[in-house]
């Protein structure tokens, strides 16, 4: 097995809860609580989970936008958290993040062409006189036109802005792109365009994606492997086909049973989860999912299930599976 492009081991991110006049830390929000994953080159790894499960925090902690609490992130064999600020700055262009909200992720006072080209300039990755051409090229491959170069972000629609965000990441020729719910702020027809753009770019440039989403049908369309998160922990990881055909974790089953299908007459077993996701500052003991799991037994309340291989690279954290 070749070395993984990205390897995350037992990553934890706790946000302190501070209260009172003296800002005493009274607890921690366990946004990410011991996540492990590895992504091979050229692969698309989908990370799914409901709101508040810590998906975005995983992405931001991997890319060192927020600092980890514990664990290890290895990118191309390099420990990202062992780098000095200068070394980190050097490696930044090879891993890029695409933001969820295309409206707030572009500076309203920077022209689009400058926003896309400035990182090349700042890192000295291309001579100054070539940058304009490179930007025009990347604009074109993202489905934008050359006359967009001198425009400001407010002159674009949401879908176009997301293309600008993609172009900004793409011009650096990154090895890894972390896409943090890149389509959830867009309407459905635009979603399709952007997803197809992701696809096309992967085919032509051999990109590797960590695709964070809460939309299972998007993930099914795009990803080769999928991880399911719940309350900061990984519940199940498997290849796409395996996960959709043979989900082992009850949470995954519940999620899959909630995906709308375009056949109204088809009756299927719906697993409806009751209640809300528990407070991540005070997660349930044992299996974190036991409070909402329809199959929970006594053991689930006491013992944390091990994230184990259920055969053929299908990992699951459940006592019953």
């Amino acid at each position: 097995m070749p070395e993984a492009l990205l390897e995350v081991n037992h990553l934890k991110k706790y946000f302190p809860i501070q209260k009172g006049l003296l800002n005493r830390t009274v607890g921690h929000v366990k946004a990410v609580d011991g996540i492990s994953l590895s992504i091979q080159k050229g692969e698309t790894f989908g990370l799914v989970g409901e709101s508040g499960s810590g998906k975005s925090t995983v992405g931001k902690t991997i890319i060192r936008l927020t600092e980890k609490t514990e664990g290890e992130v290895k990118f191309k064999g390099v420990d990202l958290y062992g780098l000095s600020p200068q070394e980190l700055r050097k490696i930044r262009p090879s891993m890029q993040l695409i933001f969820q909200d295309p409206y707030s992720s572009l500076n309203p006072r920077v022209r689009v062409g400058d926003a896309i080209g400035e990182a090349l300039l700042d890192h000295g990755l291309a001579p100054k006189e070539e940058i304009r051409n490179l930007v025009l090229e990347v604009l074109k491959s993202c489905g934008l036109s050359s006359y967009h170069f001198d425009r400001f972000p407010h002159e674009f629609s949401g879908g176009q802005r997301q293309r600008i965000g993609i172009a900004r990441a793409l011009i650096l020729n990154p090895d890894l792109i972390i896409a943090d719910e890149p389509v959830s702020a867009l309407d459905v027809s635009i979603q399709a365009q952007i997803i197809n753009l992701f696809r096309k770019l992967q085919d032509t440039r051999g990109l590797t994606y960590l695709f964070i989403s809460h939309d299972l049908s998007v993930v099914e369309h795009l990803c080769s492997r999928i991880g399911v998160m719940y309350l900061g922990s990984m519940m199940e990881t498997a290849s796409r086909d395996e996960l959709f055909k043979n989900p082992l974790h009850p949470y995954t089953k519940a999620l899959l049973s909630a995906v709308p299908i375009p056949i109204p007459k088809l009756k299927r077993e719906r697993i409806v989860l009751k209640g809300d996701i528990p407070n991540p500052a005070d997660p349930p003991a044992g299996c974190k999912f036991h409070t909402r799991c329809p199959f929970a037994v006594g053991r689930c309340k006491e013992e944390v299930p091990v994230f184990r291989d259920a055969g053929g690279g299908h990992f699951v954290a459940c006592h019953l599976a």
Binding site: S105, L106, N107, P108, D114, R168
Partner: protein, 309 residues
């Protein structure tokens, strides 16, 4: 009849040339032009500037010769605003004083905006100990009321026998120095909120240098605020300078400023008998400051809509 075969009007043309791009700033300026009140304020300010900086060239009395025969003469065709106690033409003096007053106002504004924006930006961007040091100094200055502080400085200057021709420049520095803390605070607040915005996170991910983040991403976003503060600041500076000069602690005669010309109103006889000595400079201050404030308000409405009164 099909919808997708008819292109939207303008799309074809725009594909060839592309419609004209407009920055947020350009849009704001266009909106400002529609604000009649603000524009009339601007017009008054421009007239004031032109009159003060160009006007004296057309006056035959610029040499300020003392002419005892022409003491305290009422306005006439020869001297439109009369003459003062030394027989000098009041209109010419008012215009020359305007030069000084406006220059002092502008220069001290530039100085305070420069210091305030720079220190505020640094404090807000780097936070931590740098922020603490800068902001505590600013707080310290803010706890001392500005005018008494200026009085003390002014008195010290008189005590040290600074030559009167340099006092004008020192007054500029004094006013700039007194005004920067409030400005630094505002800029710092803006910085603190801007640096948490998602486009700044994007800048981190891109691995941009601090310098680029500060000057290409953060500062352009506070420029509108700075323009507004700077404009309103000029009016305030002109007022402070007048107050100081009125009390004889700012710019000293014979260099005329509006403030030290109003000093004539201190004298009961001049106040009652020779109103042409103090009404013109008083009116100039009034008109200029009001016009600047109206214009500044209009600017704020278009550039910084969140900060409405």
């Amino acid at each position: 009849m099909s919808l997708n075969s008819t292109p939207l009007p303008g799309t074809i043309g725009s594909k060839i040339t592309g419609p004209k791009s407009s920055s947020l700033f350009g849009q704001s300026m266009r909106r400002l032009l529609k604000n009649k009140l603000a524009i009339s304020g601007l017009v008054v300010v421009i007239i004031m500037f032109l009159a003060c900086f160009v006007g004296p060239f057309f006056s035959p009395y610029t040499d300020n010769k003392i002419n005892m025969a022409m003491m305290n003469k009422a306005p006439s065709l020869k001297h439109w605003l009369g003459t003062d106690a030394m027989g000098r033409d009041v209109l010419t003096r008012v215009l020359q004083a305007g030069r000084i007053s406006l220059t002092v106002g502008l220069a001290s504004m530039v100085l305070s905006v420069f210091i305030g924006a720079l220190l505020g930006a640094i404090a807000g961007y780097y936070r931590g100990i740098v922020d603490q040091v800068i902001m505590r100094i600013a707080d310290l200055l803010l706890t001392i009321p500005g005018l008494p502080l200026l009085f003390i400085f002014g008195a010290l200057l008189s005590d040290w026998k600074i030559p009167t021709e340099y006092r004008m420049y020192i007054v500029m520095f004094m006013l700039g120095f007194v005004n920067w803390p409030g400005l630094a605070r505002m800029v710092r607040g803006q910085m603190l909120s801007l640096r948490e915005r998602e486009f700044m996170q994007a800048a981190v991910v891109l691995g941009l240098r601090d310098r680029r983040k500060l000057f290409n991403h953060l500062l352009p976003n506070i420029v509108p605020l700075l323009i507004v503060i700077a404009t309103l600041n000029i009016g305030g500076s002109i007022l402070s300078e007048s107050v100081l000069s009125f009390f004889g602690l700012g710019v000293m005669p014979p260099t005329p400023t509006w403030g030290n010309m109003i000093d004539a109103a201190n004298n009961l006889i001049d106040f009652q008998e020779h109103p042409w000595l103090w009404i013109p400079p008083g009116f100039s201050i009034f008109a200029t400051v009001i016009a600047i404030n109206i214009f500044g308000d209009g600017l704020r409405d278009v550039l910084d809509p969140k900060q409405k009164r």
